[in-house]
C-alpha cells in the first residue's frame, strides 16, 4: 500500500443531488451548532455514493465549502481512510478480503479469479468498463471466509469456481444472490450446531 493520489482526470464540477443533499443535511443536523465539520466523513461517503463509488477533488472542495472548512482538512480525511476511493472504480466495485482468516481459507484463489475475469491489476476497469476489483483489509466476515464485497453486498464461503460464476453474472449485468455460497444462513455452523444442544431456539 502506498499513498493514494487523486486521479489525473477529474470532473470539472460536482454538486450534491437532491437526495444526497437531504441525507447530508440530516447528518449535519445531528451535530451542535459550530461543530458541523464533524460531519465531514459522512458527507464524503455520500459524495462517493453519488459519484459512482469515488470522490473527485471537486467533491472535496464542495464539501469543504459546504461545511466551511479549509480544503486541506477535507483532503487529509479523504487520503487517510482507505475506504474512500480517490480515483474511478467500476460501477460494480469488488473488494476481496485478504486478511489472515480469509487468506488461510484461500483468498488468493479469489484474487486469481478476479485477475482472470476482470483485470490483471487492481483498480483497473474490466474490458466492458463496468467492473474493477481491489484487495482490502478485513471486512469483518471472518466466520464465512473467504469472502468478497460487491458494492454493498457480501458474498461469502467462496472458492475459485464460485467466484468465477459470480463474476460472470456481474459482468453480464445480473445481480447474483448475496450471502453464503455453501448454503449457510448468515454464519450458522455447518453440519448442525455442536453446543447449546439443550436449547431449541438458541
Amino acid at each position: 500500500m502506498s499513498l493514494r493520489r487523486p486521479a489525473k482526470i477529474q470532473p470539472e464540477y460536482f454538486e450534491f443531488n437532491s437526495s444526497s443533499l437531504e441525507a447530508a443535511n440530516k447528518i449535519i443536523s445531528r451535530y451542535p451548532d459550530g461543530k458541523q465539520q464533524s460531519a465531514v466523513m459522512a458527507l464524503l461517503y455520500i459524495a462517493q455514493r453519488q459519484n459512482d463509488n469515488w470522490i473527485p477533488l471537486e467533491a472535496m472542495k464542495y464539501i469543504a465549502k459546504f461545511l466551511k472548512m479549509p480544503y486541506i482538512k477535507v483532503y487529509e480525511v479523504a487520503t487517510f481512510y482507505t475506504m474512500y476511493n480517490l480515483s474511478p472504480v467500476g460501477k460494480h466495485f469488488i473488494q476481496v478480503c485478504t486478511t489472515t482468516p480469509c487468506m488461510i481459507r484461500g483468498a488468493s484463489k479469489l484474487v486469481e479469479a478476479c485477475k482472470e475475469k476482470i483485470s490483471e491489476n487492481e483498480c483497473e476497469l474490466s474490458n466492458n468498463k463496468s467492473c474493477s476489483w481491489m484487495e482490502v483489509e478485513c471486512l469483518g466476515a471472518c466466520v464465512n471466509a473467504p469472502m468478497m464485497q460487491i458494492n454493498d453486498d457480501y458474498y461469502e464461503d467462496l472458492d475459485k469456481e464460485k467466484t468465477l460464476k459470480i463474476l460472470d453474472q456481474i459482468l453480464k449485468g445480473e445481480t447474483p444472490k448475496p450471502g453464503s455460497y455453501r448454503g449457510r444462513l448468515n454464519n450458522e455452523p455447518e453440519n448442525n450446531r455442536k453446543t447449546l444442544m439443550d436449547y431449541k431456539n438458541a
Binding site: 500500500m1 499513498l3 493514494r4 472542495k61 479549509p70 482538512k73 483532503y75 487529509e76 487520503t79 487517510f80
Partner: protein, 676 residues
Amino acid sequence: MLKLKVNDIDIEVDEGLTVLQACEKAGVEIPRFCYHEKLSIAGNCRMCLVEMEKSPKPIASCAMPAAEGMNIKTNTKFVENARKGVMEFLLANHPLDCPVCDQGGECDLQDQSMYYGVDKSRFKENKRLVPEKNMGPLIKTQMTRCIHCTRCVRFATEIAGVPELGAIGRGEDMQITTYLEQSMQSELSANVVDLCPVGALTSKPYVFEARPWELKKTETIDVMDAVGSNIRVDTYDWEVKRVLPIINEDINEEWISDKTRYACDGLLHQRLDTPFIKYNKKFEKASWAEVYKIIKSKIENTTKEKICGFVGDLTNMETSYIFKEFFDRTLEIKNYESRADNRFINILNRDDYIFNSSLNGIDESDLIFLVGSNPRYEATILNARIRKSYLNNNTKIYSLNEVGNLTYPYESFDGQTQTLKNIFDGQHEFSKNILNSKKPIIVLGESFLRLNNAEFLFFKIKNFLRQNNKFSNEWNPLNILSCDASSVGNFDLGLINNEKNILDDLKSNKFEIVFLVGQDNIKFNKTNEFVIYQGSHGDKGAEIADIILPGAAYTEQDAHYTNLEGKIQKAYKASYPPGEAKEDWQIINEIAEFMNNRKLFNDKEELKSSMFNYLNLQKEKQNKEHKNEISAEFKNEILTIDIKPYYFSNIIARCSKTMIECNNSKLNLKSTGTEG
C-alpha cells in the same frame, strides 16, 4: 499553585502548566520536537517522555498537565531507554544526509541524537521515499527528512491563519504538503523554516550558501515596516546571508514577515558604491572631494529659500537628526520634510501619531476598528497579533472598507467617510459597540490620514472617545498605523514642516536644489532642479539625481529607529558600506564641514547624545492640551485603501530577486484561477 517533585527537587507551579513546563522551571531540560510554546500541543513526536511515579508507562510530558503531588523523574535508566527507543524510530526513516543538509549545525534532530540517541541503527530495511513538495519560492522541501512533528501545519493554521498545510495519507505513507502543492499564501510563510526541527523545510534563497558556524551574527532591528521586529543578521564577510527573528515578546514574539527575512538579498544588488556626478545625462564616477566642492558652490550660489530637503522611509534617526541640524544650523532654513505625501500629522502631540494601545495591548482588546488600513500588508506582525487576539479573546474586528482576506473574519462598512462621521457622531448602530467596549482599538491607517477631511475626522474621533471616557491611564484607544520604519522617529525629531507645504512647492518647481536622503517615493516632474541624492541603492531617487552620494543600508550602520508604538530601539552594524560609501550621518557632517570649516558633530557619540537631549526636550514641550473639535466644511469622500505593493514597498525590497519571485508566484497563481 501546585506542588510537585522533579528529580527530587520540590517546585511550585501555576495551575494549567504542563509537566514539561514544570520541568523547565526546575531547570531540567526535556528534549522535544513537536512541542512549541507558541503553538497548540500535538504530542506526536514522543521525544519528551519522562517517568512519573505510579505510572507503569512513561508519559509524554508536553501533553500531560502538571498535578498536585506528582513525582517526575527525568534522569533514570527508564527514561534514557524510552528516549533511545523514540530516537531510533525517528531515525529509522531519516536519511543520513547531514553533510549536504542546510540544517546541519542548527538541527534539533542532530543535536538531540547526539545527546539522547544510540550510535547505531538496527533498521536494515530500505528507507522510505517521499517526493519533494512545491511550497513556493521561499521554502525548499526535502520531505524524506520530515519527522511529522506537524509544527508547520499548526503554525499555518493557528498563527498565519492560512490553513493550507496538512498531513495527507497515513502511517508510513503520511506526508506533509500544501493543498495540491500550491505555494503558501501567507506573508509569514517562511517562519515554518525556523520551526522545522529537521531539514525538511529549509530556506530556498539560502540554499547551500553557508554553514551556521561560519556566520557572524548581529542582533539588530528590522526596517521593512514600522513594527521594528527584532532580527539577527547573519553575515559572511560583507555579504548579508540571511535574516532570522529573535524573540521579543513585546514586539514580534518569535515571527518575522517574509519581506523582513528575504529582502536582504536586495542589499547585494544595485548598490551605490562611489560618488557620481551627472554630465550630459550620463553618470560619471567622482571623488568625495569633487562632489563636495560642487555641492558647496551650488548651495552658495542659490538663495536659501530655494533649497529643500527630504528624508526617506528607511532613514535612521541619527541621519534624520543631523540632516535637520544641517538645515537648521548650516543653511538656516527649515525646508525639510519626511513625508512623501500630504498626509495629516499633528506633530504637537506625540499621542497623535503613534500606536498608543501598543502591540501587547492588542491581546487585551475586545474590539478593533480598522480605518483606512490593511494591516496584513502594512504591518504583517501586527496583523498576526490581531489574529491572536481574535483566537484567544474572540475579539470583534471591524473595518470601514472591505480589504480582502485578513486571515481572520471581520465585518466591513461601505468605506465612505460619511459613515465614519456618523459612527463617531453616535448616530450609527456600530457606535453602541464602541461605547460598550471596555478596551476598544481604533486603528487609523495612512490612507485615512491622506483624506482631505483627515484633520476634521481625526479630532472628531478623538473627541468622541474622550467624551465617552475611553481614555484612561492604562488605555489609549486611538492608534495611528505608520507603514515606514522612519516615520515615528522623524516626527519625534520634528522633521516636518506644517507652516508651508514643501511637497506642493516642489511639485510646482519652486526649488532649485533638492536634497534627497534615501527618499525615492516623491513623484515630481524635474525641470531645472539640482538634485542631490544620498542613499544606498540606485533606484528612482538616483535616477533623477545630478549628484549621487553613496550611503549605507540599515545593516551597515549603528543607529536608532522608533517603531510605530514609539519604542526607540538600537540597530547594530552587521556589515560595512560597500566601496567608497560612507555612513549617512558622516556624509552630511562632512558636507557641513566643507561648507563652514566646522563639523556639526565631532563624532557619533556627540551626535547621539545631542539627539537624545533634543528628544527629551521635545517630550517636555509636549502639548497635552485637549484640542476641541475643529470646524471645517465636511464633504463625503470615499476612502480608498492605497497601499504600496507588498513585495516592492522600499528600495531594498525592490532590488531583491527573492521579492520579485514572490511577487511573480502570486501573479501566476491569480491567472490560473485555481485559488478557489
